[in-house]
Subunit: 193 residues, 2 copies
DNA sequence: TATACAAACTAATAATATTAGTTTATTATT
DNA sequence: AATAATAAACTAATATTATTAGTTTGTATA
């Protein structure tokens, strides 16, 4: 094995990630990818089943990296501090890896087992942090979804300039997380306040 | 004027909307669009400047329809009721016009005056509803962005199956809006509670 | 009735993804 | 050391895409 131009799947995914982060998701074509790797585009079919397959694999890789970043941000932390750090980490990921994040959203997660699995791991991570609030198992899923909606919504809108003038974005983000935490406190920790 | 096959821009946008809502945004090609209209694809260039232009116009149209739906949902309502109805209306729009909504998100709003304008009108609408909470002009933009993040995040994740099993989605949504309102109350109406 | 022109058309080009079939270089085996 | 297997590169070809150029046509107005 190991023939003349030793391109492997990890190389391909790394090159693809560079392309989407630098030039956007639409810039990822079999041509551009092959060119970046120094091979001809049909050679890519020795490693994958085509462009949709590469996009799917890239989405999985992106979600894994997001999961790892979120995990690192909550190690040794709990409650509000854990949530604040996790939120910062989420936004930071989207800002530093815009294309990689975007492609995790574009892929249809409900059709793919691997994507399902990593998505669930992220949900589980959030759920675990929420345990400290004694939310109760019935509401846990709702709060987890709320936090994820908040983070994805903000990050996604910011990425597309959906907020209009990009003024005070960090301030808005902190304010948003605080408002969420206040709702959480009022709902589940009213007596402890 | 009015030549043999009287296709107009509104016809084109309507056909395009049908395609994206039925078969997804990727299914909108010059071929599929022309076929749906009973003309050949080059004829579309008599009415538009190409596919990106059509997508952009469709995004503008989608945002206008969303704005109108949100406006209708808040007429004669205020405070929590207005926000709850607006939220329901937003989600309902995304659920009934999935492709049209998605294309409003895919377009780069920061590069287009027309898109900027409608986006701003939606922000203004939300801001107006928030006036009743005496949020204060400094925080108004933060709360408006928070609500928009929440709604877009939830709708977008639901649309892509990002929540995993689609169980209790309506319940999650109501719960989410309630949590937001509680945060709002605690932050700005603590004394009135 | 004739002209002007908007909007359709056909034909052609360049870029895309993909498939089929071929060559080559390295690894493992004799 | 020579050779056989094979993974992964290659070239060539096809179908589909968007788009441009140039042509025809049908209707509305002068």
């Amino acid at each position: 094995m190991v023939p003349r131009n030793r391109v492997t799947l990890p190389h391909i995914l790394q090159a693809a990630a560079t392309i989407v982060d630098t030039d956007g998701v639409d810039a990822l074509t079999m041509s551009s990818l092959a060119q970046k790797l120094g091979i001809r585009s049909p050679s890519l079919y020795n490693h994958s089943e085509g462009l949709p397959d590469i996009r799917r694999r890239l989405a999985v890789s992106g979600l894994e990296q997001l999961r790892d970043a979120l995990m690192r941000s909550t190690v040794g932390r709990s409650r509000d501090e854990a949530i604040r750090e996790m939120a910062k980490s989420y936004l930071n990921f989207v800002r530093t890896r815009p294309g990689l994040y975007e492609i995790t959203i574009l892929a249809p997660t409900d059709l793919d087992d691997e994507l399902q699995k990593v998505s669930q791991e992220i949900v589980d991570l959030v759920t675990q942090v929420l345990k400290a609030y004694q939310v109760g198992s019935a509401d846990e899923i709702h709060i987890a979804r709320t936090l994820r909606s908040l983070l994805h919504g903000f990050a996604s809108l910011e990425q597309r300039g959906g907020f209009g003038i990009p003024i005070d974005l960090d301030e808005s983000f902190t304010h948003m997380v605080d408002t969420f935490l206040m709702g959480l406190h009022k709902r589940y920790l009213a007596k402890n306040q």
